[in-house]
Amino acid sequence: MTSGGFIERLRTGLWRDNPGLVQLLGLCPLLAVTSTFVNGLGLGIATLLVLTASNALVSATRRWIRHEIRIPIYVLIIASLVTCVELIFKAWFPTLDRSLGIFIPLIVTNCAIIARAEIFASRNSIGVSIADGLGMGAGFAGLLMALGAFRELVGHASIGGFSFADRGFLLAILPPGAFFALALAVALKNHIDRKPGR
């Protein structure tokens, strides 16, 4: 994979190789927490922070890490960062932390993060790796927010907690609704990409 410039990394993460839409990574939290916009936003930001910091650390230490022990080191770095982010959320965003619950600690298991460490950060300089983390994190966060907003709109008939109708279409906030919404998002992306002229 080529490194490319800063903008190119952002664009790759946000759209071309979007971890959720294209690589289909990290779907468990993606499907589980996107029942509201705020939840999607919260987990999105947490994942973005962890991904960027882990890319930076992995890239910064890449010259000293022997190939044989790289995986335990990635796991250590990612788990520590997730713990820090969890503590920070608990201290400054307690309400959000409560509604996200177990999914904050579970960021550790988001394969999108270890995949970026292995595929990108371990082979590229720190600046580009940070850009990659930001791009991929923003791509993931953006998808979480879009799905959250869509499902909240259809399922709760509200947006960001402000409700404008009594009831919504319940299916959207149940687990199957998450799959439908993701499928729609993937289909929409493919449709846009296939338009002539791109």
């Binding site: 022997r66 044989e68 335990p72 520590s80 820090c84 503590l87 608990k90 201290a91």
Partner: protein
């Protein structure tokens, strides 16, 4: 990998592990006071609705009393009692107890009782009842739990602490009678326990912060 390689790898791993641990420790140091304060505030806030109409000293969460099973309160898991004081005089008590016979699993109920045995508020802390039917026991979904406020053992008498279908004086929920039955029974047993043990409850030593 050569012997030297293994040692090098081990040292690297140990080094990175210590750096990561230091990072987590520093974050913990910077956040743990805030986190403890948040948790305390959340607890006090969650207890407050069950004490409507009662004036009391702050710091209710510090008066926690945990009864390990077997105890005489409903449920076979630890029951938690908060003693509520106003100007150091006992005015009310809160009980977190478990109704074991819910429709789908145990229901955790918070019962607030004034010193004279009058209910100051009931809230459902945890349950897995059917959405749309049994979950109307939640204060946010219907006003069913509010019907107990102001009642006590004697008003109605013990036999009246049941749903109308069973000859009692309290409303059931449309489409769900097992859930209300379980909640009412837990509330009634809690009130009976309070009437019998009122004196000792307020004298007992608080039993730590963790449930």
């Amino acid at each position: 990998m050569s012997d030297q390689g293994i040692i090098k790898a081990g040292v690297t791993l140990a080094l990175i592990a210590s750096i990561c641990t230091a990072l987590v420790a520093a974050t913990y140091q910077a956040t743990h006071e805030r986190i403890a304060a948040n948790e305390k505030a959340l607890l006090e806030q969650s207890l407050q609705p069950a004490l409507s109409g009662v004036f009391y000293d702050s710091g209710v969460s510090e008066s926690r009393l945990v009864l390990q099973p077997p105890h005489d309160l409903p449920g076979n898991d630890p029951a938690v009692i908060y003693r509520v004081f106003a100007e150091s005089k006992p005015v009310a008590a809160l009980f977190a107890v478990t109704a074991r016979d819910g429709f789908s699993g145990p229901i955790r109920v918070l019962v607030g009782v004034e010193y004279d045995g009058t209910v100051t508020g009931i809230r459902i802390l945890q349950h897995r009842e059917t959405p749309g039917l049994g979950d109307k026991i939640e204060a946010t979904r219907s006003d069913w739990v509010f019907q107990f406020d102001g009642h006590s053992i004697g008003d109605p008498p013990v036999t009246g602490w049941a749903i109308r279908e069973d000859g009692g004086e309290f409303d059931q929920l449309t489409g769900a009678s097992i859930t209300p039955r379980a909640v009412i029974k837990a509330v009634r047993d809690t009130l009976l326990y309070f009437d019998a043990n009122r004196e000792t409850i307020f004298l007992a030593e608080a039993s730590g912060e963790d449930e």
